[in-house]
Amino acid sequence: MTSTSTAAPGSPSTNSEAKRNGLAGAIAFVLVGVLVVAGVGFGLHKLSADPQKPLYATLATDTVTVNGENLHKASVTMGVYPDQASAAEHGSKANAKDWVQYGPSSHLVLPQHTLVTMTLHVYDSGEKLNNAFFGKVIGTVGGTITVDGKDVSSVPADEVQHTFTLHGLPTSSQDPLFVNVPLLRVTTDDKDNFLPTKDPATDFKGHTIVFSFVTGGKGEYVWNCEYPCGDGTYQKFGAVMGAVGYMTGKVTVA
């Protein structure tokens, strides 16, 4: 190599300036950095917050015996709403998009070790389930649901509008809970006459579906619709299907 002007190894020049600034500055810098990163974390956590108020089941005072076990009773009512405006009319205020949605909240809070009776008012039409398995009623008391007062144990794959499928997270040793309820479709969308609070036998053009299931101990569960009703992305499993507050939500057994 060409000759180089070299200082002796190990003898980089130093000056007092460099020594003046000790590691106190470094530690302060690190603390500020940690705060910045934590701030990003809090920001994302805030973005992740569920904007909806939970929907609490109403606990009854009487009890019932199911499979030899004496249980309290509770009830909860939900609807499938065609859009934001109809959902808002019935108490759902959180959602911002004109997507079909469950409501008034997608976060259910249910009491533990209780027979929960759930009523769903539904209006939607449908196409066909990808997976006929979700056309079966699973996990309800008696293995059936009532559709406008009639007991059924399954719905044909091409007559489903949505499903209410409740299942556990793979995170802990909480009691297992799996409920699958297929919702019978109406022949055509009837959202203009959708009045879920009225008597289905007279005014209501959709269906009213009632079923009961038994909760276990405390735990966190999720529910979602297994009928692909999204906007075309992910083979209709995108958009509304994956958005919390629309076709998916959570269940807290407390």
Binding site: A7, N15, F29, V34, V37, H45, S48
Partner: protein
């Protein structure tokens, strides 16, 4: 404070006052880019039904490219070619202005052709990208600290993983070749500048335009596919995916320009007497790396162009229903994807190989074996891509050949190991910060390499594929080896790039926080992965809770270490001890020039008469 004034130069400051180039900078680029994007966006969306995803994607994607082109117009990237086309090439004074002569700090915000300015631009840009990617990693690990965590939703978690992945990959690809390949490499070979200085500036500013595009993904719904962006997921994903597609296409242009420029520079502009066997090993490693990128990255670009067409005009390259194939995407992606691992790794390793002889005061052990190792890795790396697809369902009989080529790559990798170990053998290492990284590299690369052999094995990969084991493996190679090499390079060349010594104590603290934290973070991940914990998933079974908590603690340690390093860099750059011209007593050419390095590097062209590693030998 002793002044290291960047404005002081021996030449008069050029002042082509009437020239447009003097009025253009990053600010004008941003304004013009934003105007281009906004005008194109509103022009294209008029009359379109924006509720149709294809139309929305088309408008967004074209607007993103409009931003990139607009920025380059606004910063003056096309003035030179345009003036040449109309027969009024830039004057000498304008050329000098373009080279940043006498402009001080402002040249770092201009379209500057000086390779040293471009190197610093890359360094700052890479540090910013690593900071963002690292912050996202902290978010990921925080969410995984406990099972059932509710820190972020699964959808946000998916975006965190995707953005962390692509940000880090982009940053790591340029982490060594960007700063050191631009600033140091031309001086190391005795060149006055890069072969194509304007293209050099273009490569940086093109890459710069990709950064806001990628960031826009956050506001467009995120990147839900992970960094691999497999089709058809990427075709069907929401508008945030347009940001990913545009980023990759823009980035591929940048890397192609960089690759061609560095390769041309090394091939044609070496100093007199610098035969190929006298070229510093970092130059060899960096050149092989960028040369490898030249054929590799266009396939990624092509895959993204096809994805863009599927998303915007309804072609069906990846839709099996209409004769397309998801495998086509997987092949195109991994034909880039695995060479890319070595594009990242080689310059970092080469930087370490440059450091070892200097700090052991011994010649590099078997220079030819080192070149054989680099060449072998580069050659084999283009024949191994399908080991990522063993369980994709493609023709199983083709798994065997790819298993063999993948396992063969451990042979040239072993040569690299032997060269470093041979150089260390019976040496008396001078244990400064760059040298510590050499030992960290040997440990990390050993673990990353050995665990990679299992993943290359078809039966083992059937079990381990998609698990945290894979995550631990590639972090050992990319972060534990390549990033460690790049940080060592920073500590080593920092005096030449900034004129100051890196704060040693903070550097040591950073080193130990990062390296110990890194082992805590990833060693246990091999076990949880082997026990079945899937990667890329926001939640996990309770049985992994101890492993994941330990990993998160390790991640925080790495984060703290990186913050110490950042402080050391920022503080030393501003107030660090003034560095002598050659603080390490090295023999390569970059240590023969003063700081600030003159515009054309050398007052008189150097003549090379010996190899660069003649430590302990009589000078010829």
């Amino acid at each position: 404070m002793t002044t290291l004034d960047h404005q002081v130069g021996s030449h008069p400051i050029p002042n082509p006052s009437k020239s447009l180039i003097t009025k253009l900078n990053m600010g004008t680029g941003t304004v013009v880019g934003a105007i281009f994007a906004v005008v194109v966006y509103f022009w294209l969306r008029s009359g379109e039904d924006m509720s149709v995803p294809q139309n929305d994607n088309r408008v967004l994607l074209i607007s993103m490219f409009a931003w990139s082109v607009g920025f380059l117009v606004g910063i003056g990237a096309f003035i030179g070619p345009f003036r040449w086309l109309i027969g009024k090439d830039l004057t000498d004074e304008e050329q000098l202005f373009l080279a940043g002569e006498g402009q001080g700090i402002s040249r770092y915000f201009r379209y500057c052709t000086d390779h040293k300015v471009v190197g610093i631009q890359y360094l700052v840009g890479v540090m910013a990208m690593l900071g963002v990617g690292g912050t996202l990693a902290m978010m990921i690990r925080t969410n995984l600290a406990m099972p059932g965590s509710k820190i972020v939703t699964p959808a946000i978690y998916n975006s965190l993983v995707g953005l962390h992945g692509i940000t880090m990959i982009v940053a790591m690809i340029v982490v060594s070749t960007g700063p050191f390949g631009n600033f140091i490499l031309p001086i190391m070979i005795g060149a006055r500048d890069m072969a194509f200085p304007r293209l050099n500036a273009l490569s940086w500013w093109v890459l710069f335009t990709a950064i806001p595009v990628l960031c826009s993904a956050w506001f467009l719904g995120g990147i839900p596919t992970g960094w691999t962006a497999y089709a058809p997921l990427s075709v069907q994903a929401g508008p945030g995916m347009n940001a990913f597609v545009a980023t990759i296409i823009i980035f591929a242009v940048s890397t192609a320009v960089t690759g061609a420029n560095i390769t041309a520079t090394v091939v044609t502009m070496r100093a007199k007497g610098m035969k190929w066997n006298r070229v510093p090993i970092f130059v060899i490693g960096a050149t092989i790396s960028v040369a490898l990128a030249i054929p590799a990255f266009p396939t990624f670009m092509v895959s993204m162009i096809m994805t863009a067409l599927d998303r915007t005009v309804g072609t069906t390259y990846f839709d099996a229903q209409f004769g397309g194939s998801g495998w086509l995407y997987a092949h195109l992606f991994w034909i880039m994807g695995h060479p890319e691992v070595y594009v990242i790794l080689l310059p970092g390793v080469a930087a370490l190989m440059e450091i070892v002889p200097v700090f052991v005061r011994k010649p590099l052990f078997s220079y030819n074996a080192a070149i054989l190792g680099f060449s072998g890795i580069a050659g084999l790396s283009v024949l191994v891509w399908a080991h990522h697809m063993y369980i994709s369902g493609w023709l199983p009989m083709l798994n065997g050949p790819f298993m063999i080529t993948t396992e063969m790559i451990s042979i040239p990798t072993g040569l690299i190991f032997l060269v470093i170990l041979g150089t260390l053998w019976r040496g008396k290492p001078w244990m400064k910060l760059p040298m510590l990284s050499v030992y960290a590299f040997l440990w990390n690369m050993l673990i990353g390499g050995v665990t990679g052999v299992y993943l290359s094995d078809v039966p083992a990969d059937n079990y381990l594929h998609g698990s945290m084991y894979v995550t631990a493996h590639f972090h050992y190679t990319l972060m534990g080896a390549a990033l460690t090499g790049a940080i060592a390079g920073l500590a080593y060349w920092f005096p030449k790039m900034t004129g100051r010594m890196l704060h040693e104590k903070a550097g040591y603290i950073a080193f130990w926080f990062v390296q110990i934290g890194f082992q805590i973070l990833f060693l246990g991940m091999f076990i949880s992965g082997a026990e079945g914990q899937p990667r890329r998933v926001a939640d996990y079974a309770a049985m992994y809770k101890h492993s994941d908590m330990i990993s998160t603690v390790g991640a925080y340690s790495v984060g703290i270490g990186m913050l110490f390093l950042l402080w050391a860099v920022v503080h030393s750059w501003r107030k660090g001890a003034i560095a002598p011209m050659n603080p390490w007593g090295a023999k390569t050419l970059e240590w023969t020039v003063p700081f600030p390095v003159p515009l054309e590097n050398f007052d008189t062209p150097p003549v090379i008469t010996s190899d660069p590693y003649g430590y302990g030998r009589n000078e010829k």
